[in-house]
């Protein structure tokens, strides 16, 4: 049995756009964590 024909990614037409989005969000969360840590009340 062969694999079904595949579908294109829904955002930006390229998978790279979605991968970049995931990395950008991770960086944003790490920066948020850093800000919470260094912020002094």
């Amino acid at each position: 049995m062969s694999a079904p024909p595949d579908e294109p990614p829904p955002v930006g037409g390229r998978w790279g756009v979605l991968y970049a989005l995931v990395i950008a969000e991770l960086v944003a969360v790490i920066l948020l964590c850093g800000w919470l840590t260094v912020r002094r009340p």
Partner: protein
């Protein structure tokens, strides 16, 4: 719990099981039973993948971690989004193209039958025992909180999940996971809102955040590299990346979830949504624990959150010492409350000097309370050296029982049961896939018969459920083994990941080289566990790196030995 809570809990459990059985209609063959007919769209794949990873103990332990240690546990998940991307690029298209049922099938195509058997066998040992722990850990907490025998909660948690998993396989598992996980997240959100609204009048969210920050509960990032420290940025990014890559790429309980996607794109999207949601979700659950911590700054917390241990202490020979310790704890908590109010008043009035002084006093109060909790743990150990002195897993449910409104308590307990059923059902389905596809179908040599395979799969699911519940019952008598089983995943994941990475990226390596490399790497990882203090997150990197390096070396050696001698030129 009140009658309303019991009614909510009972109705929710009956609904979950009934929904799962209802969703199991119309299954015809092994593809339906093991991979939900490969028909799922990405939202279902994403919810199923997330629900499989988030077991009941996640929802019990993570708020407890937030309470006791702040937000820094979130770093454990930093490698996950990166692992999702690598899997989407490499593993997902290969598994889809080959139309495999299990990850280990691919290894026979790439190497040989013995390498497939080794990887599938390592998975069955590790996941079979881990399935017992997935049932046992929340069973223990629920048994203590509800005052039931742990054997009853083990049978209940395992029994509820197996009803629809055996009946409906992967299709029932995916649909119930999507429903249950949505309910769990909604319940946690409502619980967080209720806790925030339960703070004393006049205390804003900004005040709560200020107080949590003053006591170090918002420290989420540790940049210092220390291989023995479990939670820092580097262990999370590097060690966590390899752990998540191994878990999602080679553990059938996850591979089986995203292979239900109807195409490469649907499976990829499911994994990428997991990469987007997982870290913020863990941060939110930890924040729930921090919120509980702040709540207990204004209300005196229990000295020890495990109610069973407290009862034993109050009825035992050290009851006087325990009562005296509780009185000292209560007085220290009241002092902390007074200093907290002084700090918040100084902050509101803009008096930075007074606020700084109050912060120092508050930190000293907190240290006193922490010391008293350590003293309580010491007293418990004095009574019984084998007693559990870590009460982190009991913090959230103790709080829920004591402070949440009627009805919501039953819903939170239903969410904990649902989380346990989610992960247990996926584990049972994965154990069944591997047993049937990688062992039974290969050894029986029986011609394909959809109905027969379906019934064999159902029996295998029941068999694994019985094993998992049996091991959970056994684990309740072997406290010291539990920690070892918890680290079990990391003992095997690195080796299995190394086998797969060699398969994907080292084209010249053959079966015998990778098989030998895997045996040697596994021995080294076990030696690291037995003889060193290296944090278990690094075992994945060590095992994986050794398999790849040794397989490449052995292959190069074999090629050099097999090469014909160079012809001499005249």
């Amino acid at each position: 719990m009140s009658g309303l809570d019991w009614a909510v809990l009972g109705a929710a459990l009956a609904f979950f099981v009934g929904y799962g059985v209802w969703k199991s209609r119309g299954e015809r063959d092994l593809t339906d039973y093991l991979l939900a007919g490969r028909r799922m769209r990405w939202p279902m794949v994403a919810l199923s993948v997330m629900a499989t990873q988030a077991s009941a103990i996640t929802f019990l332990s993570t708020p407890g971690q937030g309470f006791a240690d702040g937000l820094r546990f979130v770093q454990f998940y930093f490698g996950l989004p990166l692992a999702m991307i690598v899997l989407c690029v490499t593993v997902v298209p290969i598994f889809h193209r080959l139309r495999v049922f299990t990850a280990y099938q691919y290894l026979e195509e790439r190497f040989d039958a013995k390498t497939r058997t080794l990887a599938a066998g390592l998975f069955l040992v590790q996941r079979g025992l881990a399935a017992g722990l997935t049932i046992y850990a929340p069973s223990l907490v629920l048994s203590v909180i509800l005052g039931w025998d742990v054997r009853i909660t083990c049978v209940l948690l395992g029994g509820l999940a197996v009803i629809y998993t055996a009946a409906g396989g992967s299709q029932a598992v995916s649909h119930t996971q999507a429903l249950q996980f949505t309910i769990i997240l909604a319940t946690m959100g409502v619980a967080a809102a209720v806790i925030a609204l339960s703070l004393p009048r006049g205390v804003s969210v900004a005040d709560a955040s200020y107080a949590a920050g003053a006591l170090g509960r918002l420290n989420a990032l540790e940049l210092r590299f220390d291989p023995n420290d479990r939670y820092n940025l580097w262990s999370g990014l590097i060690g966590g990346f390899f752990l998540q890559l191994a878990y999602f790429g080679t553990d059938q309980s996850q591979v089986g979830r995203y292979l239900t996607g109807r195409s490469v794109a649907q499976s990829r999207l499911g994994l990428l949504v997991n990469g987007l949601v997982k870290v913020p979700m863990q941060l939110a659950i930890l924040s729930l624990g921090v919120l509980v911590f702040v709540f207990y700054l204004f209300v005196t917390p229990p000295l020890f959150f495990n109610p069973a241990e407290r009862s034993r202490m109050l009825s035992g020979p050290q009851s006087v010492a325990w009562s005296e310790l509780e009185a000292r704890h209560e007085s220290a908590a009241r002092a902390r409350q007074g200093d907290l109010e002084a700090m918040l008043a100084a902050r509101r009035s803009g008096d930075a000097t007074a606020a700084a002084v109050a912060r120092t006093t508050l930190a000293a109060d907190q240290e006193r309370l922490t010391a008293l909790r350590a003293e309580a743990a010491g007293l418990i150990r004095e009574r019984d050296p084998a007693a559990a002195t870590n009460d982190t897993n009991y913090i959230f449910l103790s709080f829920v029982l004591a402070h949440l409104p009627m009805g919501l308590i039953g819903l939170v307990f239903a969410a904990v049961f649902a989380a346990s059923m989610n992960s247990t059902s996926a584990e049972l389905n994965a154990l069944t896939s591997t047993t049937v596809v990688d062992f039974y179908k290969r050894l029986s040599r029986r011609p394909g018969d959809g109905r027969h395979d379906l019934w064999v799969s159902r029996l295998v699911t029941l068999g694994w459920a019985a094993f998992a519940v049996g091991f959970a019952e056994y684990a309740s008598r072997l406290g010291s083994l539990i920690e070892a089983v918890n680290i079990l995943g990391s003992l095997f994941y690195g080796t299995i990941l190394g086998i797969f990475l060699t398969a994907f990226y080292c084209k010249g390596v053959r079966g015998t080289a990778v098989f030998t490399a895997a045996l040697v790497a596994e021995a080294v990882v076990v030696a690291c566990f037995a003889l060193t203090k290296i944090s278990f997150l690094w075992y994945n990197l060590i095992g994986c790196g050794l398999v790849v390096a040794l397989a490449l070396t052995l292959s190069a050696g074999r090629r050099a030995a097999a090469a014909p001698p160079a012809l001499e030129t005249p």
